[in-house]
């Protein structure tokens, strides 16, 4: 049983069954990372290329570890060390990588749709590791995995996604997946950060954080892109933190036992208070650990080994 698809570009076209399959496959790899010898031979002889056009430490490292723990050969390819600076197009770069018999290309790119454009042009499998504001499917899948590992069911689950939803690929992927699985998704932020039409995606829109948190089972904080301050999205970091920062007091408004998530890297004292980030309700580091297992599962399924 496999995913029966060449690429993983978006969560819009994964079925609930597909998502369940990925999460269950990740379960079986979770244990590998806890072993003394953290390696299985599942992808021996396969080549995985991390093609990262945007700086990323955690996602690239997570994919690299995942591939290595599956015994794949891994190449990291980033613009500073590639011919991209010489003006080569994305498609030509990818075709060159493909000519070296890459089985899977993991792409991170600043343009929405770059992964889809690439997937149309190459025979290798393409995994979207974040494309512009569009999607970050593996992040959402590891978020789902983390929620599920807390023995929370998705049907009726109240999830508040807090922050700059408009410019967040993490938010989009989570919205697509969570609504598909029957969760009640709330998005909250100042109207400058919430797309006008987002309600049509089946989410509820809030502009008041306290209201959005009432009864929430999961609080998903988004990273505030500090450099956006000059773009008239919010007046000051101080004001943003006061109105949309997650404090211990605010966590108490949520359901007892609610968990706090963040895709990282966190801005302590901006969108999340330090004591909240370090509290028992925070699962931020679990997300990171689960990320490796989930990506192992995805690589395994995409490689055709499944």
């Amino acid at each position: 049983m496999g995913l029966k698809r060449k690429d993983l570009l978006s969560l819009t076209n994964l079925s609930a069954d597909d998502i369940t399959l990925i999460l269950e496959t990740a379960d079986s790899f979770k244990e590998v990372s806890g072993r003394e010898i953290k390696k299985v031979p599942a992808l021996r002889g396969k080549t995985v290329v991390n093609l990262f056009f945007e700086p990323s430490t955690r996602t690239r490292t997570s994919f690299e570890l995942a591939a290595k723990r599956l015994s794949a050969d891994v190449i990291n390819f980033s613009p500073s060390s590639s011919s991209v600076v010489k003006g080569e197009t994305l498609l030509d770069t990818a075709r060159n990588i493909e000519a070296m018999q890459a089985d899977i290309i993991v792409l991170r790119h600043s343009s929405a749709g770059a992964a889809e454009t690439l997937a149309r042009g190459v025979k290798s499998s393409v995994i979207n590791a974040g494309d512009g504001w569009h999607e970050h499917p593996t992040q959402a899948l590891l978020d789902l995995y983390t929620i599920r590992s807390r023995r929370m069911g998705f049907a009726g689950l109240r999830v508040a996604i807090v922050g700059d939803v408009a410019h967040s690929r993490v938010a989009r992927s989570n919205i697509f997946a969570l609504t598909k699985l029957g969760a009640e998704v709330r998005v909250v932020g100042p109207p400058t950060m919430i797309p006008l039409q987002i309600g049509q995606l089946g989410v509820q829109v809030y502009h008041n954080l306290d209201e959005a948190l009432r009864g929430a089972h999961v609080i998903m904080m988004l990273r505030l892109q500090l450099e956006r301050q000059g773009r008239a999205l919010f007046p000051t970091i101080r004001e943003y933190a006061r109105h949309y920062g997650l404090t211990g007091e605010r966590v108490k408004l949520a359901e007892p036992g609610a968990i706090v998530m963040h895709p990282g890297p966190i801005n302590r004292g901006v969108e999340i208070a330090p004591d909240v980030a370090d509290s028992l309700s925070s699962v931020i580091l679990d997300q990171v650990a689960n990320g490796v297992a989930v990506r192992m599962g995805i690589l395994y399924l995409m490689s055709g080994a499944g």
């Binding site: 819009t12 197009t89 929405a112 512009g132 039409q197 995606l201």
Partner: protein
């Protein structure tokens, strides 16, 4: 050369609409009427079952010469024009160098003359280098042969500069053409802002980016008394404001492009770069408003915004790919589809493709009146064909209509009494 076009259905909007012969002598129309006698030595073109129309006039093309000849040249662009039935085209000034002085204008006119396809009239820049700061030498541009002024894709953002341009242009009776886009509102955008852009995570261009500039321009036209022509309007708001401006008697004309009355933002899904143009494809409500504007006369003109780009440019990531599609060779059938849909009468469609655009820019074109230049498009209205970009005369292939089955085809195009295009027999079955 003497030509007699026999037995066709002649439509010269407001003048003739019925079966007639058209006699062409010395490059001009010399007679239109039933059963004309062929003078000695005349070439007879049999047009029974076909439409005989004034050659179309496109107020909005980008021919990329000088500067971007790998996309299009004046020769290839005018060849595409006549293949689409256009005998007169107005070329935008966003070349390199920008057409902001008479030397560039004269160069373009020379190239068009050498190509010998369609008549070409350059549109001069409003400001030097289209930078929106200092006025270009509008009087000289006019005298050299420019028929309008525009900074097109780099709209003049400074409203005072725009006011001065409109005032100054009055001295030379030259229309001011604006691509209505507030560059602050649209910054970074690459498709319509709406549900689809939200799903695709693409930066959006709100309708308001167009609407606020239409409102500004209409106000300035009222203040200055200038002739204002609004390029490629795409929103319901624009249509509403133009309708209101016309009702108040302002000298405002407007054009719409076939893609804006045929396609919606839905085509962008899959990051289809052939659905990337500026203004962007909008919603079904906007498409309906554009059609209504065409029907009730708010929108005078159908123009193509023919914007050729090389294949490798359109193969880039969606956000990186350039805006624009080619349009000259598909405009006719897309316009005739409006006739089939009951939006326009056949005569109104011909008016918007030929007569009204000529009038908007005061061009000696767009009619089959006695003494007019013999610019004629002969059209088989029932010919069905598949759009095949490989057969385009244009150098570029960037069209969202590839593979579409369309109806209505240009079979012969005549410019100044000379046959400049005849559809190949092999293409008639295509």
């Amino acid at each position: 050369m003497t030509l007699l076009i026999q037995g066709g259905h002649v439509i010269d909007p407001g003048r003739v609409n019925g079966v007639a012969d058209v006699l062409i002598e010395n490059g001009t129309i010399s007679a239109v009427g039933p059963a004309l006698k062929a003078p000695a030595g005349a070439t007879v073109i049999q047009a029974r079952g076909q439409l005989v129309l004034p050659g179309f006039v496109d107020l909005h093309v980008h021919f990329r010469e000088p500067g971007f000849e790998y996309k299009e040249t004046i020769e290839s662009g005018t060849a595409a024009a006549v293949a689409g039935g256009f005998t007169t085209v107005c070329a935008m000034p966003n070349t390199n160098p920008v057409n902001d002085n008479q030397a560039v204008t004269e160069f373009m006119l020379e190239r068009a003359k050498a190509a010998g396809n369609a008549h070409l009239y350059p549109i001069g820049a409003i400001t030097k280098k289209s930078e929106g700061k200092e006025l270009a030498e509008i009087g000289d541009l006019r005298r050299a042969g420019c028929v309008a002024i525009s900074d097109d894709g780099k709209p003049v953002m400074n409203s005072l500069v725009m006011r001065r341009a409109m005032e100054y242009a009055r001295a030379f009776d030259v229309p001011v053409v604006d691509h209505c886009e507030d560059l602050h509102l649209s910054e970074g955008g690459c498709m319509n802002e709406g549900l689809v852009s939200t799903e695709l995570g693409l930066p959006g261009i709100p309708s308001a980016a167009e609407d606020v500039m239409v409102a500004r321009n209409v106000s300035l036209a009222e203040l200055t008394g200038a002739r204002l022509h609004l390029a490629h309007i795409s929103t319901a708001g624009s249509v509403r404001m133009v309708r209101e401006a016309k009702a108040r008697g302002l000298k405002v004309t407007a054009e719409a492009c076939p893609h804006h009355f045929t396609l919606t933002e839905e085509l962008t899904r899959g990051y289809n770069t052939h659905a990337k143009m500026n203004p962007p494809l909008r919603t079904m409500q906007d498409v309906q408003a554009i059609k209504e504007g065409l029907r009730d006369g708010t929108i005078d003109v159908i123009a193509t915004d023919h914007a050729p780009h090389a294949t490798q440019e359109k193969q880039q990531e969606f956000t990186e790919a350039p805006f624009g599609i080619v349009g000259l060779e598909t405009a006719l059938p897309l316009t005739l589809a409006l006739v089939d849909d009951g939006v326009l009468t056949l005569e109104a469609a011909v008016d918007k493709l030929a007569t009204a655009p000529a009038k908007a820019f005061s061009l000696n074109a767009g009619t089959l009146a006695i003494g007019a230049p013999a610019d004629v498009a002969i059209v088989d209205p029932n010919s069905e064909w598949h759009v095949d970009p490989a057969r385009f005369r244009s150098k570029s292939r960037n069209t969202p209509f590839a593979g579409w089955k369309v109806k209505g085809r240009v079979t012969t195009t005549i410019v100044s009494g000379r046959v400049v295009f005849e559809l190949d027999r092999s293409e008639r079955q295509a």
